[in-house]
Amino acid sequence: MLRYVAHRLLQAIIAVFGVLTIVFIVMRFSGDPTLLLVPEGASQEAIDALRTELGFDRPVMVQYIDYLRSLSHFDFGVSVVQRIPAFDIVAARIPYTVLLAAGAIVIAVGVGIPVGIAMAVRRGRWLERSLAAVVLTGQSMPSFLSGILLILVFGVILGWLPTSGAGDLKALVLPSIALGALSMSTFARMARISIVDELGKDYVRAGRARGLSLAGVVRRHILRNAAIPIVTIAALEIGNLLAGAVIVETVFAWPGIGQLAIQSIQSRDFLVVQVIVLLISFVYVVTSLLADVAYALIDPRIRLAR
């Protein structure tokens, strides 16, 4: 088990280093931010002076080595726009994104898995068909549309919930639904498929033959066996929630990392963008690592294979 985890950890470290390098290359070759920071009509001398101040006139290799050295000290640089350490700017937004992702996970898991179970158990009945419609809607409606519709219905028409902002928990409800809808559908479909798969197996028939109720079989045996694909999906969904948050946070004026990413790209605050990309990649790597470890815990065959 330990060897398995160490192996996975090594892979994760290589992945993180690859990300660091790709981020550097993409950020440096997508253009020189100096021109975007000076007022229109600035003289060439003023532009050159600022470029020197910011260090963009140095050779790329020197910038790269400098970049790696800074990162090894956890120094992510100072935002050229806000003049605050870039990491602090991003760190201040993390709680909002975590809160929103948590809200979305609650919707996705809390609704998605029971719906998936219900659809599997009541296969071919009217309940499955009507739930399938819900799942399809959640899956096919883009969040910028569902976001605006939710604001319109619950914010403007009914006036039950705030239209934007991050003042209180009430403000979390609509963005969580908009963000969690897609994952909810994914969880529901995955849960349905893997439970249907398991339902056809001999141990289920054996359990039923011993007099166990269907609910009992599902609860005591099927859920554990059906969990592996669901855990894989959950790990990937956390990454998707961070990525999807870009749109939802913009629509709902929710001050998380996604909204910050958009603003920083617009204002060409490239150090902040860099921190955000590194952070999201890091979360992806860590969640996949955790998922791998979780498989090994759930299914002994995986850890013993090594």
Partner: protein, 495 residues
């Protein structure tokens, strides 16, 4: 996305919203972004400026008609062409009670002009060679050369408290700014909102609202929803579609103002088929500005004859433009032997794609072949400001120097040697050089008239329209927006 927000806006119009708030002591403004900095010397994008300009006073300001008038300086005299003296208002106090003196003004100038400070506004003030305090009530500025735009630039200089900035340091000052303006910072919730409280002892009188909140709401449909539900009283950056939809709501008002921003078409005079002046004139005849303004800007703009507009000093409205005349354009193209010539049309996501495509169509209609090349903004700027051969034949631009002077408009755009200019004419250079080296307004106007006439003949660029700024507001809000798009809460009130 645009279509969806439009549909949402229409739906929103059909609906009766919830009861509006009645907290009259409070004003809430929705802006597209949070302030980047509240240190007034660090950033001057519209969202930062809109907030911190209420915390600070500037040396000078503009009145509702656009005239430069006193604020912290009560009067000023040009000792000679390169020396100016300002009298500093004696009764102004910073929000911590310390008096504002000439030393603070000198400190503010030296701070923003210090290259190591890296202010993006440096180029607006780098003509200032030195600043000295003469006692506590006079400031003496020395210019590198005679600089007629100095006063227009000083309108953008906020006065910061020397003692406080030196005590807390730049980083802390940015987070806890302290000025002499009508509002003081209560709380800055990054990415969410900035809350300001009235400065009861403000020298110009009691501010109109006890509390002002600037919220960051990036999506325009959400800003509109906020306005309709009373979550916001005033929203900034309202596109034409949304503005037209809002007009039907009796409780709301759309406030619109012509700005100093001018949409123009750059035409490369130093590379490609457009090197021939006949091709450039043909392009000028090919473009139907009226149609652009009516169909795409939906009336939220005004066609112009040259690259300028009324709020800009030096602009000559009397100079005729080119009529929309495709037949004449085709004749000129034929004459130049340029039929079917390919012209690169550089653009970036910062420019309205519909306008770019409409212009492409108009140009293709006169038998040229405009090819749109979409670049990211940084690459676009690098090529547009780089060598003529690399700058493309055409590019759209929306220009504002935020100084309301032709020296900040047609000088950087077309003077030989400027990064933006792909054009060279010694007579034109002489005219704009003369206009920037004298303080005599009549002489400056005469030189700009000459310059604009040359631009009309040579067409290194074509003025398209004067852009309008639109705001959505509750009907009870009394406010007249200004051409420089300031958000001075002092000028607003409930009626």
């Amino acid at each position: 996305m645009r279509r969806l927000t439009f549909v949402a806006a229409i739906l929103a119009c059909l609906i009766t919203p919830a009861a509006a708030q009645t907290a009259k002591q409070m004003l809430t403004i929705d802006a597209p972004n949070d302030a980047a900095t509240l240190d007034p010397h660090l950033q001057w994008d519209a969202d930062s400026y809109g907030v911190y300009r209420n915390i600070f006073d500037n040396l000078l300001t503009r009145d509702a008609t656009g005239k430069i008038v006193p604020q912290i300086a009560t009067a000023w005299r040009f000792v000679d062409d390169t020396h100016v003296e300002f009298d500093i208002r004696p009764d102004v106090k910073f929000q911590d009670g310390t008096p504002l003196a000439a030393e603070d003004v000198v400190f503010s100038i030296k701070r923003i002009t210090n290259p190591a400070f890296k202010s993006p506004q440096l180029s607006q003030f780098d003509q200032i060679a030195d600043a000295q305090a003469l006692g506590s009530a006079k400031v003496h500025l020395t210019m590198k050369t005679p600089y007629p735009v100095l006063l227009a630039q000083l309108v953008k200089l906020s006065i910061v408290p020397k003692a406080y900035v030196e005590r807390v340091g730049d980083q802390e000052f940015n987070l806890k700014p302290l000025g002499s303006g009508p509002y003081k910072l209560r709380e800055w919730q990054k990415g969410v909102q900035v809350t300001l409280d009235a400065n009861a002892s403000y020298w110009r009188g009691k501010p109109p609202f006890g509390t002002v909140i600037f919220r960051a709401v990036p999506d325009v449909s959400t800003r509109v929803a906020d306005l309709k539900t009373g979550r916001a009283d005033l929203i900034r950056l309202l596109p034409p579609d949304e503005a037209i939809a809002l007009r039907s709501d009796a409780r709301l008002a759309v406030l619109t103002v012509p700005t100093e921003r001018v949409g123009y078409l750059f035409i490369n005079a130093q590379a490609g088929p457009t090197t021939d002046v006949r091709v450039r004139r043909a392009i000028a005849h090919a473009i139907d500005k009226q149609a652009l303004v009516e169909a795409l800007l939906q009336g939220f703009g005004k066609p112009v004859n040259s690259i300028g507009a009324e709020p800009i000093f030096g602009y000559v409205p009397a100079i005729a433009g080119y009529d929309y005349d495709p037949a004449k354009a085709r004749a000129l193209i034929k004459d130049a032997g340029a039929e079917g010539a390919t012209i690169t049309f550089l653009t970036s996501p910062a420019y309205d794609r519909r306008v770019v495509e409409a212009i492409q169509q108009m140009i293709n209609d006169v038998r040229l072949k405009a090819e749109i090349v979409v670049l990211d903004q940084a690459t676009f700027l690098r090529r547009r400001q780089g060598m003529p051969a690399d700058a493309g034949g055409l590019a759209l631009g929306v220009w504002s120097c935020a100084c309301q002077d032709a020296d900040g408009t047609i000088f950087p755009l077309f003077r030989s040697g400027s990064t933006w200019s792909k054009y060279s004419n010694p007579t034109y250079d002489a005219a704009v050089d003369a206009a920037r080296s004298t303080l005599d307004e009549a002489k400056r106007l005469a030189e700009y008239r000459k310059a604009y006439e040359i631009l009309r003949e040579d067409v290194p660029g074509l003025g398209l329209y004067q852009a309008f700024a639109s705001y959505g507001a509750r009907k009870e809000l009394k406010w007249q927006p200004t051409p420089n798009e300031s958000l001075f809460v002092m000028d607003m009130s409930w009626q």
